[in-house]
Amino acid sequence: MSVSTAFDKARAEGRAALVGYLPAGFPDVEGGIEIITAMAEAGCDVIEIGLPYSDPVMDGPTIQAAAQQALDGGVRTRDVLRTVEAVAATGVPTLVMTYWNPVERYGVDRFAADLAAAGGAGLITPDITPDYGQAWSAAADAHGLDKVFLVAPSSTDERIELTTSASRGFVYATAVMGVTGAREATSDLAGPLVERTRRFAPDDLPVAVGLGVSNGDQAAAVASYADGVIVGSAFVRCVLDHPGDRPGAVAAVRALAAELADGVRRG
């Protein structure tokens, strides 16, 4: 199921959509499914499931730690797809966010087919751009999957046009120049980037903002100008702060999701 249904619904309600991220297999596969399901129940409109990778160059220390814990626990690509299947079954549109090599290794078309069969909506690809992602674009088109590419404050207008025309589902605007992780102040680069992106994006392509958002007030601020608010490290932090305490982790992500869901409705 494409994430566009969730963005359409949010738009109809006059608000931004809330996109929540957690890597699969963190703290373990079953625990991850339980926590991500709680995130969706408590207000995330779209779920991003991270595929843990050994060399995550776009991630800061928090998500690195989670991915490492998942890999140390033995998580496999098939566990990620199992997580997608369980989460998507609850009805929330579910994307996978992955570095490229695990997809290439699995087989691009096979990955697309298995992701579609699991009920996944598509991929967010932080380390491939449309000009080097033709194989993925072809497989996504063949299997009706969303293709979420990224734009950055450093992107030229030409590259924003290239990226938005190749994206489906939404386009991911990185609010800061930097890696993932909570930041105290929301970025002053995000607003202008969203405005610039809208100029080139097809009318029906939502623009969602990620990197650095960790609380309701920041979510409200971003929601005032973007179609979606993406939160990752703050959810991961909830789980890292409750080692060995599943109910505590679930309660923490529920509380955060509710706060952020309120934020996107205030924005």
């Binding site: 990778y53 690509t77 380390d127 751009t129 000009d131 080097y132 950055a152 992107s155 120049m177 930097g178």
Partner: protein, 421 residues
């Protein structure tokens, strides 16, 4: 020296950075969008710089007056006698800072100045590229931060101190396996946040386009010089050339001038570690599968899910689970052959060169020598004593004395053992 900067070969990348095309070939630019503009600017900046005679002249003058280039091509007579073929060593160990790497960093730092950036970052394994980068930064008055795996900062405290004395900040990297590949990850994370002011001095002919081509251009002087020296001094081209391959900068630097000489056999020697069959090695071309690591499609040591596998080698400079994409293409296209050399073979070659020629090679370069010994046998059988084998002695072994002391039982501990007998 750098007068061949603008020359091309049939084995070059296309404008998108593909060696051998996007379907069957290697390379490309698998990077976050945030870095794409900087990579494009680096690409066009380099195209302009290498076409500018003023830039080329300045680079040449720095190489000559500061880095001690061109390096000699040395006829190793005692080794030749022993092996029964003519062995020529390209003496990159005599360069300033002790290895070929000074060519790359001086070129990239000069380009950084030209492009108006004020800070450089670099990754380093054993510290050689870090020391070279800190040296170039000092020379050009640039701020310098070097990322180094925490495991390596402890093993290579002397090189950490050298970098610090040269004015660089050294950041130990604790993430992942805390080695070279994680130092690259951390440098890329820095670069995503600092790209407006900062150039990434990539240490080898790997990574996203244009780095494999940029580093190749800057190191190709090794082969350009060696080819001309060989013709001038001996009136022939070598029958075979050999270099060690980790990421592959010294090897591509040697190979480039000879790619179109069809009668010259080209050999790259990868780190075979404990032995290819043990799985503990860094023989990426021999044992890896095509995949994407650090921005390029190339051969990668990876598991069945595409997670990078840690490599193993006694030589920190070859201990990398990927390889430059042009080497992947030269291997696949058959123009060059890549073979593993074990730790033991390399250390034996280190001792042999030390004792026959009075030259202590870097352990990286000792892999090329060890491989060369194998080729020499073959060459002698085929062509007799007139056969010429050219080996790149990419660096000197001073930095490896700690490893050598442990391996051979040298120094104080060996002396005291003897005293007890």
């Amino acid at each position: 020296m750098s007068t061949h900067l603008h020359e091309t070969t049939p084995f070059d990348a296309d404008p998108q950075g593909w060696f051998g095309g996007p379907v069957e070939g290697f390379g490309g630019k698998f990077m976050p969008e945030a870095l794409m503009r900087a990579l494009d600017e680096l690409d066009s900046g380099w195209q302009e710089a290498k076409a500018d005679p003023g830039f080329v002249a300045e680079f040449d003058a720095i190489l000559r007056d500061y880095a001690n280039l061109p390096s000699p091509l040395y006829h190793a007579e005692r080794l030749s006698e022993r092996l029964g073929v003519r062995v020529l060593l390209k003496r990159e160990d005599l360069n300033h800072t002790g290895a070929h790497k000074i060519r790359n960093v001086l070129g990239q730092a000069l380009l950084t100045k030209r492009m108006g950036k004020t800070r450089v970052i670099a990754e380093t394994g054993a510290g050689q590229h870090g020391v070279a980068s800190a040296t170039a930064a000092a020379y050009f008055g640039l701020d310098c931060t070097v990322y180094m795996g925490a495991v390596d900062t402890r093993r290579q405290a002397l090189n950490v101190a050298r970098m610090q004395l040269l004015g660089a900040e050294v950041v130990p990297v604790e993430s992942g396996s805390a080695t070279l590949k994680d130092a690259i990850n951390e440098a890329l994370r820095d670069w995503v946040a600092s790209v407006e002011t900062t150039a990434y001095l990539f240490g080898t002919a790997a990574g996203p386009h244009p780095f494999p081509t940029l580093v190749r251009d800057l190191t190709r002087g090794i082969g350009d010089e060696a080819r001309a020296q060989c013709l001038e001094q001996y009136g022939v081209l070598p029958d075979a050339i050999a270099a060690c391959v980790g990421g592959g900068s010294n090897a591509i630097g040697l190979f480039t001038a000879f790619l179109e000489d069809q009668d010259v056999a080209i050999y790259g020697f990868e780190a075979g570690g404990d032995g290819f069959e043990t799985g503990r090695h860094a023989a990426t071309i021999k044992a890896g599968d095509a995949g994407v690591l650090h921005g390029a499609r190339t051969y990668v040591l990876q598991d069945e899910d595409g997670q990078t596998i840690e490599s193993h080698s006694i030589s920190a400079g070859l201990d990398y689970p990927g390889v430059g994409p042009q080497h992947a293409w030269l291997a696949k296209s058959g123009r060059a052959s890549y073979l593993p050399v074990t730790d033991t073979e390399a250390m034996d070659a280190m001792a042999l060169l030390s004792r026959t020629e009075g030259i202590i090679p870097a352990i990286e370069s000792a892999h090329a020598l060890a491989g060369g010994l194998r080729i020499a046998e073959q060459l002698r059988a085929e062509k007799g004593p007139e056969a010429t084998l050219l080996i790149n002695l990419s660096g000197r072994g001073d930095k490896d004395m700690g490893t050598a002391m442990e391996w051979f039982g040298l120094g104080e501990s060996a002396g005291s053992d003897e005293g007890e007998q």
